[in-house]
Amino acid sequence: MSESIVSLIDVEKRFGSNLVVRKMSLEIQRGEFLTLLGPSGCGKTTTLRMIAGFEDATSGIIKVQGEQVEDKEPYQRDVNTVFQNYSLFPHMTVYDNVAYGLTIKKVPKEEIRRRVTEMLALVQLAGYDKRKPDALSGGQKQRVAIARALINNPKVLLLDEPLGALDLKLRKQMQIELKRLQKKLGITFVYVTHDQEEALTMSDRIAVMNAGILEQVGTPMEIYQYPKTRFVAGFIGESNLFDGTVKAVEGNLIQVETSAGLLTTCGQGFQPGEEMHVSIRPEHLEISREPAEGFALPGKIKDFTYMGTMVKTALDMADGSELKFSRFEHDSRLREGDPVYVFWRPEKSVPIKKSAT
């Protein structure tokens, strides 16, 4: 049983009349890489800032290592932050930036020198100590920001979209480096991003947020394969979503009536007449010339998009919706405008309860 290092219990944050974080409860485990993922404005950064102490929670309890911290100032908390815009002190050298936390704590000069040198080597910036932040590239600034935070041996490192300003290639490289760094140091990382791919690549667990609500917490695989809400199914990866009503239940199989037609999914705890959602990934979708058993989803091939490793096919459905279908190889028998029937193996689709809100 791993122990939690940060606990959020019923935390809410209100800006004026705007409720940006609603009744959020989350346990962050020691040593894990947890990502707060969601679209912009979902409350993920606010949540991070509440842990750091820059924002006061309107209500609820925040604990770091079992100790309540709501009334503590940021400088009294054993957490450090890597800011989105780096926020390096422009009037200090790289060395002084990294040494800042230790200097404040009045650590002996010799020890500071040793630790800063170590830390700069760790983020591959040895020899840059005399530079000013202005003379660094975006990636280098990011490394300095990480070193400046990590040198204090925080219980938790909070990262607020730290790679957002970097170009794609550098971002990919930094993702891997950050993940390795986290494993090596064993420090808990709480990482905020809106990039679901980044979240899937780096995280031990992902907490998906939307409109101030924590939608689902789980490993990247759980989140991807078993989304619990319609939002998560749509936000993580590509997905085809159906809204419908349960028509019949036979064992695990559930027949659902949707505006696009009849389909079958696989799950438990659903009653006939209940409204629900069904999610199916483009790679699990199948098409044929004849309707399959348990499905009545007629459509037409709209177009093909060649993606290098994949061919994506868009399908026009009877109700005007569009389905995404992808395969590694292009099936040369298919032509644009061909009428097809869509089906899938029911266990490949994910049944989702209609949420109360």
Partner: protein, 294 residues
């Protein structure tokens, strides 16, 4: 932030590229109305005074000899002292105020700036004379002090050094607040958050982050307050009632009632040298590009 950055870089461009086209009229203006009069003052300072207070154009170092008199040394050191005190107090008052304004939303900030500017726009003679009325023995300030029982007899405020300094401060405060405001306003809040995040108390953050990053504003404020308060004579004239003499008053008197232009010119040159020296020492510590406004 990025917008401001690009603004300043285009500003730099403008200065470099069509240099002659834009600098031309300004140079003509500066030569006609600043450089030539200044050269003339320097020239006169080496001339002699005629019997009737006119300038006799024969070379003489008399005026500079007179300056060696200890009276002038006293006046100059007193003026420097007053200017220094004004500068320090303007900074001490202006910094917290500028900080307060800069942390307000822009609409509120511009209103508060207006509050600073309104007295600055009123005629200074009117303002200074109203100070006299306020602080005279039978004035409202004394009435208030006696009413509250802080003192049982009227306090003499007018024609004292203290009131002159107070007058200088009210006169100069906008020059301190505006550059301070502009540099504090540029300070990114996330830097203060970063400092706090790294364990610094608000006091440590102020000393290590806020203060160094607002040095440009402090530099400008010092120059903009110190130099004018060294030369200004209206404040000490009216609030000091001729009893409090600064170098500005002496210069004025030499050109005015006493009619010793060469001596007045020599004093002006001395003032020029002192301020020039101060600015020189100053630029040793501060990089020129750090000084906005100036």
């Amino acid at each position: 932030m990025s917008k401001r950055k690009s603004d300043s870089s285009t500003g730099r461009h403008r200065r470099r590229l069509p240099a002659l086209a834009t600098a031309g009229p300004v140079s003509v203006w500066m030569i006609l109305f600043v450089t030539l009069p200044m050269l003339f003052i320097i020239y006169i300072s080496f001339m002699s005074r005629g019997v009737f207070g006119d300038v006799v154009y024969t070379f003489s170092l008399n005026s500079y000899h007179t300056l060696l008199d200890s009276t002038y040394f006293k006046v100059i050191s007193k003026s420097l002292e007053a200017a220094l005190l004004t500068t320090v107090l303007c900074l001490a008052l202006g910094y917290p105020f500028a900080y307060y304004i800069a942390r307000k939303p822009p609409e509120t900030a511009s209103k508060l700036i207006m509050l600073i500017m309104i007295p600055f726009w009123t005629n200074s003679l009117m303002r200074l004379n109203s100070w006299l009325l306020l602080f005279q023995t039978s004035g409202p300030v004394n009435a208030f002090l006696q009413w509250t029982g802080i003192t049982d007899h009227p306090v003499t405020f007018i024609y004292t050094d203290a009131l002159v300094i107070l007058g200088l401060i009210t006169n100069m405060l906008p020059f301190a607040v505006l550059p301070l405001y502009s540099s504090i306003e540029k300070l990114e809040n996330s830097l203060l958050e970063a400092s706090s995040d790294l364990g610094a108390t608000p006091g440590q953050t102020f000393l290590r982050v806020t203060l160094p990053l607002t040095f440009p504003g402090i530099f400008s404020a010092i120059i903009l307050v110190f130099i004018p308060s060294l030369g200004i004579y209206t404040v000490s004239d009216i609030l000091g009632g001729g009893k409090v003499l600064y170098i500005g008053n002496i210069i004025r008197n030499q050109f005015g009632s006493i009619r010793n232009w060469p001596l007045g010119a020599a004093l002006s040159v001395l003032l020029l040298v002192i301020t020039g020296l101060l600015i020189f020492i100053y630029t040793r510590f501060a990089k020129i590009e750090d000084m906005e406004v100036v």
